[in-house]
Symmetry: C2
């Protein structure tokens, strides 16, 4: 079982399989800095797609030998995104990464049905992987960035996407906590209704390879003592590997709370496509970005 981001990096290094990441609109200092760090660690090679003059200038400013980088010039962001998607579809690169362009432009190219990078019934979802240092293990929080107000059906896919990632981390039967403000089922609080449905659906094997319980308030999910104090019987309480959020409001706030108040190490993953997507955010630290790239590469090894 992989317990921290260093172990993710080690697992990718040990695999010895050289993968290639294609960056759309790579003309960005932050993005290229993380590409250099990734290459220096021997994790992957890159194809840099975008404004070749700007890319060259940034590489020089970062003290790189430009001749050692594969660069494909394009005219604009849309061309960059489309070319990266095609490189993946044609298996000339393994992983697409978003550079300095709109998320919507990047996703539109990747989701292009003709390329087959996303299955028809798939739903892209985001999960924040957290180094839960107190317990020396990884925990996933989903969805903190993509799906605004997921329905029950969408939460089913979001949950399964996270469960599948836990399997890749070596967590055989992840414990999934469906988080709500209270641990009781109340019609007035939709997150508790969804939680009851997801729990029962998992028991009926509509979700695979996991144990699901909810509604659980965050304290019950994290602390066995807190759940005992409340008289809650739950095999998930205190042992949660995945926290499924009520909606984007809650997910985004928890994600940022962990980084700003608790100073946790985290990495964002985009799940649900046939290939992992790398979409780091401007607000990510260089360390966050490297962890996100390593998590995407890890998925690739296990697919």
């Amino acid at each position: 079982m992989i317990r921290n981001f260093n172990e993710v990096i080690e697992a990718v290094q040990k695999s010895g399989i050289q993968k290639k990441i294609a960056i759309a609109a790579a003309q960005d200092t932050d993005v290229l800095t993380s590409a250099i760090a990734t290459r220096d660690l021997g994790l992957a090679e890159f194809i840099l797609v975008g404004d070749v003059d700007k890319i060259n200038a940034i590489l020089v400013s970062l003290k790189q030998d430009v001749s050692t980088w594969e660069i494909i010039p394009t005219q604009n962001d849309v061309d960059s995104a489309n070319l990266v998607a095609k490189l993946i579809a044609d298996r000339k690169a393994d992983l697409p990464m978003k550079g300095l362009l709109q998320t919507s432009q990047f996703l539109k190219a990747i989701l292009n049905k003709e390329l087959g990078l996303v299955k028809p019934k798939a739903l892209l979802s985001q999960a924040t992987v957290v180094e839960y240092v107190q317990e020396n293990r990884m925990m996933l929080i989903t969805d903190c960035a993509i799906n605004i107000a997921p329905t029950f059906e969408e939460k089913m896919i979001i949950t399964q996407n996270a469960v599948d990632f836990c399997h890749i981390l070596g967590i055989e039967i992840p414990n999934v906590a469906i988080i709500a403000p209270v641990e009781e089922v109340r019609l007035a609080i939709q997150s508790t209704v969804d939680a009851a449905m997801l729990s029962k659906a998992a028991q009926r094997k509509q979700l695979k390879g996991c144990v699901v319980d909810g509604p659980l308030a965050l304290d019950n999910a994290l602390s066995l003592q807190a759940s005992i104090h409340k008289g809650i019987q739950s095999s998930v309480a205190g042992h949660s590997d995945i926290l499924v959020m009520p909606d984007l409001n809650a997910g985004n706030i928890l994600d940022k709370s962990l980084r700003y108040f608790a100073d946790y190490k985290t990495a964002g993953c985009v799940l649900g496509a046939n290939v992992p997507l790398i979409m780091t955010s401007r607000s990510d630290s260089p360390e966050n970005k490297l962890s996100a790239i390593a998590c995407a590469l890890l998925q690739l090894l296990k697919i």
Copy 2:
């Protein structure tokens, strides 16, 4: 300006005004433990209402001289709640506190219109007061416990309730951040719509004594650097005194995240009535509970 819970306690002690707290259904070890701590600090006296035999037994087990406590026996929880509400209305006690009974039973007695403890247009709301240690100041998060899915109108009152409490803490013009997952106004994300409305309403002086900005993501609200990085112009960013949550899902999760992941000291306040209500939760630590009582007493000094 009051910067931490010790200063709240000191302010109440220095006032020298002796206040009386009436506890409904006081037969609970946790509740009586916090009452003893409050009395030992000279913050308030108590009237213990409820099951007199159980109350006596607990007091003895906590090494108290029972004769030094004012106890009023009642037959059941409803009677306890009604008697406490009447004691407040008759000015025989200053503050009502919830003991070992259902929140709904306690609130029903307090909200009884004939007693006049709550103004007709008032809305009760909860705010979590946080010792924001990195910045050596207090911050409020609202609503984390009462209002499930507040409308714009309800968020107006929830915000004003928190602003009024900041004034009591000595924060003259609190900065209010309306939190959402993104800092842009998007029709698909209701929290960003509400945030735009609240910001403009504050500018039109529909909210008093505060500066309001939103939508802001949590990182923008907390970190000036993060907001500059995103190109956001906001006098609130990085200086937020109040974080208004999108809904109960988000508020409750952030509240618990601060306690479980970041180990912050917090206290829950119930705002909006003519008297502060003390409603501690089983999951509060003895220290949390004492802070909550002190915050309620502080409000009373300033009303």
